[in-house]
Symmetry: C2
Subunit: 352 residues, 2 copies
């Protein structure tokens, strides 16, 4: 059996906290024996919720009391600075001090990003830490990197993310020699905005990844690349458009069948299992959370509306990450040069 | 009856030329009495194709012989420079010389863009001409502007596109007081990349549009804005992701039903009409073509794989545009300042 992995869980973060969060964590605990969880948040509330789970392996549960909660609407920089006793800040500090290997939160993305940079810090040589969610595509999982952290990115950062994404997909999702591509508006040499045009030749020079050039947005749902590299503004557009379109169409299809007359209604009942299977395959919820890669400890942002099952995936992901020793692989395979400080100020991190 | 509209049609451009193109033009001619068409391309081929349509109103058809064709893979700048007798260059020249009100092509986007700038020229004061396709959304049509022309755009350009888009949607698609929004990664004040952050306050200052702030990608399929303003790189990501996701899911749903056992198969037959109706509603083909707005004449780029019906929509669109006198409305309502030359060099146009 592999060594024990200690995950701190933000019991207060997300639309469905604390109920679904704690249920999800208990699911993960019962699924994985080598997992220990520290619940971070208001002790009394956590105890009440845990009491609802007689199957919870309490010997592998701890509670770290944190009295404050960072709300979604708060300024991330301010919140991280001032709410020292919030579940996010306290959870991050557990990682910083080596008392947890990972921290999982469904709370504020902004505070997670700022906290990750300021309180946990980057691996030496990593310029910027990207959010890297996994999209379910026709061919299987595709990593979208960066998708939320660095909206005005530089070519050298994209070059690092391509390498980090490749290592992540190979070691966590078991995809051999993953195809790494830049999100672009066409395959021809002269296509792209200034960022893509500058980044393209740098990516081509890399000998440690399988760089396949450009991937157009329309090919991403078909699995046109295993790792899609882009700035976070573009990544957000791609991810949210993917989720939004799938969700909207699902609703429209169900609605169309409901209003298509009695035969369509009967047909709808008959196709329901097949339809559900297909739509579940492409649900944004399939792959738990987005890791903030390149920090000295693992920080995972779960979907804000994560339910217990989704949250349990995000927690279990931490075990694979720890077992694969990803940060060591970054250091070995990326030939990093230390040009950064270990931690950034809240202000500079927020500018990311 | 409104005045006659003269549309030049590229008979040689697109995957399905010349057959579907000429069929589509004939469809439009039979649909709209005040339409005249000049077919541009190889005269002999056009005559052969027209002969297949005994219902074609030949009195309203002309042929303008053009012996060359610009291929999709060619460098747009070179092609426009050297292939003076191509259907795209010749069609554009008809617009330039006032012999046609509009030119519709399903051929090379790049050559259409370069030709539009170089051969037709912009309305005085318009900084850059954007491609503006219409997306079918849950609430109805949404204009995506820019979606292909200007990948590294400036705030002042986005500000113009917001106004142009508003005028277009109000006058061509009949949407009163259209909601104009910037594509963004969140609704909060501090969200966005540098371009969006610079553009936001300028848009807020406009008193001639209904600016509603940010629209997130996930809300676009639901019709979260009537006009979505963005640089062309972002627009391409949004449009292609929308098309790609819808197309991929359609295939997966059909496939899931086919392999879901005999009951699902039977159900599939029963839901087929409702399913088809829903999917057609969101097909990229619903709204013919993307106009290149802000030129002295109308240039419309139809989808490369347009069939006869789609192409006929693109042609008919030109009648509404002409009747609405859009360029005059741009001049009246946008308070334009002439800071541009009438035509650009092929090189500078290609840099857009």
């Amino acid at each position: 059996m592999s060594e024990t992995v200690r995950v701190a869980v933000d019991a207060m973060g997300g639309d469905n906290a604390p109920g679904e969060i704690i249920s999800g964590a208990v699911l993960a605990l019962n699924e994985r024996e080598n997992l220990e969880i520290t619940f971070v948040g208001r002790e009394e509330i956590i105890r009440q919720e845990l009491a609802k789970h007689p199957d919870a392996p309490l010997a592998r549960c701890q509670i770290h009391n944190a009295t404050e909660v960072i709300e979604m609407a708060e300024s991330p920089v301010n919140a991280v600075k001032t709410k020292k006793d919030s579940s996010i800040v306290q959870g991050m500090m557990l990682v910083r001090h080596g008392e947890a290997d990972a921290f999982v939160t469904a709370g504020s993305s902004g505070a997670t990003l700022v906290g990750g940079q300021v309180l946990v810090g980057r691996v030496k040589g990593i310029e910027r830490a990207p959010f890297a969610p996994v999209l379910p595509t026709q061919k299987g999982p595709t990593l979208l990197i960066d998708c939320g952290a660095n909206v005005d990115a530089r070519p050298s950062q994209l070059v690092q993310w391509g390498q980090m994404g490749s290592i992540y997909m190979e070691n966590i999702l078991g995809i051999k020699n993953p195809r790494v591509a830049l999100a672009n508006i066409g395959a021809e040499e002269d296509k792209g905005n200034a960022l893509v045009k500058e980044t393209m030749p740098l990516m081509k020079e890399l000998d440690n990844i399988n760089f396949t050039g450009s991937v157009e947005a329309r090919d991403i749902p078909y699995g046109g690349a295993d790792v899609v590299v882009c700035d976070a503004f573009t990544g957000n557009m791609l991810l949210k458009m993917y989720e939004g379109t799938a969700h909207m169409l699902e609703g429209e299809i169900v609605n169309g069948i409901k209003h298509g007359g009695p035969l369509a209604l009967l047909g709808g009942l008959l196709v329901k299992p097949a339809l559900k299977k297909t739509l579940t395959k492409f649900s944004a919820k399939t792959y738990g959370g987005a890791p903030l890669l390149g920090l000295t400890g693992l920080i995972v942002k779960a979907h804000g509306n994560a339910d217990a099952v989704v949250f349990s995936h995000a927690v279990e992901q931490c075990i694979d990450w720890k077992n694969a020793d990803i940060n060591e692989k970054f250091k070995e395979k990326m030939h990093l040069v230390d040009r950064t400080k270990k931690t950034a100020s809240p202000e500079s991190a927020a500018k990311q």
